[in-house]
């Protein structure tokens, strides 16, 4: 494992067998990556929250159906849960 971030480049203008090289990221790429890491973290958090909200809504809906007198199998029959 390398300490310096690297990328694999295949330069298709070169003959086969001479195309692939492993090069360090440029400063611009490293800076861009840091921004992207923040964006990725925010998107992951949003996705996790979305999943948690959906699960909570599902649970609340099932509890309301149960309060109306539906059995577990009847709830499962209409919700697919």
């Amino acid at each position: 494992m390398s300490e310096t971030p690297v990328k694999v480049i295949v330069d298709l203008s070169k003959p086969k067998g001479q195309r692939e090289s492993i090069v360090p990221l440029t400063e611009d790429e490293i800076a861009e990556r840091e921004l992207m890491a923040q964006e990725a973290e925010a998107e992951q958090a949003a996705r996790d929250q979305e999943a948690a909200d959906l699960a909570a809504a599902k649970q609340a809906a099932q509890e309301k159906l149960a309060a109306l007198g539906l059995t577990e199998s009847e709830i499962a029959a209409i919700t697919g849960a």
């Binding site: 494992m1 390398s2 971030p5 690297v6 990328k7 694999v8 480049i9 295949v10 330069d11 298709l12 203008s13 195309r19 692939e20 492993i22 990221l25 790429e29 861009e32 990556r33 992207m36 890491a37 964006e39 990725a40 998107e43 992951q44 996705r47 979305e50 999943a51 959906l54 699960a55």
Partner: protein, 167 residues
């Protein structure tokens, strides 16, 4: 229509790259197909994400996504090319996500349409499946494709570039 493998990148045990890049792509095809078989080398989630760069740009993308994660489904929009196309280290050992980017009319002077079909793999409930429809708002012919950015690729991850031809 013909389909021709142009080149494959396979990650070795020592390289641990963040990005896999195809440069100076010939302009003699109609469409491009990029296939990705990917596993993260680090990080604990069960799936990780990658960006797609075209001609060195990660901007200009807009997308509609249909997805499922093992417990729910959703339809969302996005303004970037960020997509879970990589199995994470918490997923079952030796499993690799598979993804396909189909880039239509890559030499044209119009905005580009791109389809992404991906599934991360896991012998368990949590797995991310998606179909994305992208527009890349850029009229330049595509000469460079780069994928990566979330974390380093594990050994045996591969990316292949295919050219779709008219004959």
């Amino acid at each position: 229509m013909g389909m021709q493998l142009i080149e494959t990148i396979e990650v070795t045990d020592t390289s641990a790259p963040l990005y896999l890049e195809f440069a100076n792509i010939d302009q003699d095809g109609v469409d491009l197909l990029v296939t990705l078989s990917a596993r993260a080398a680090s990080g604990t989630p069960q799936y990780r994400s990658n960006y797609l760069w075209l001609n060195g740009l990660s901007s200009g993308f807009s997308a509609i996504r249909l997805s499922g994660n093992g417990s729910s489904t959703s339809s969302t929009s996005a303004s970037n090319s960020y997509a879970p196309t990589m199995t994470g280290t918490s997923a079952t050992a030796s499993t690799f996500a598979n993804a396909q980017y189909y880039i239509s009319n890559y030499t044209s002077s119009e905005n580009k349409a791109i389809a992404l079909d991906s599934v991360t793999e896991n012998n368990g409930t949590t797995v991310f499946m998606l179909i994305d429809a992208y527009q890349w708002a850029n009229t330049d012919a595509i000469t460079n494709v780069k994928i990566g950015g979330s974390t380093t690729f594990a050994q045996y991850s591969t990316a292949s570039l295919y050219k779709i031809t008219a004959d």
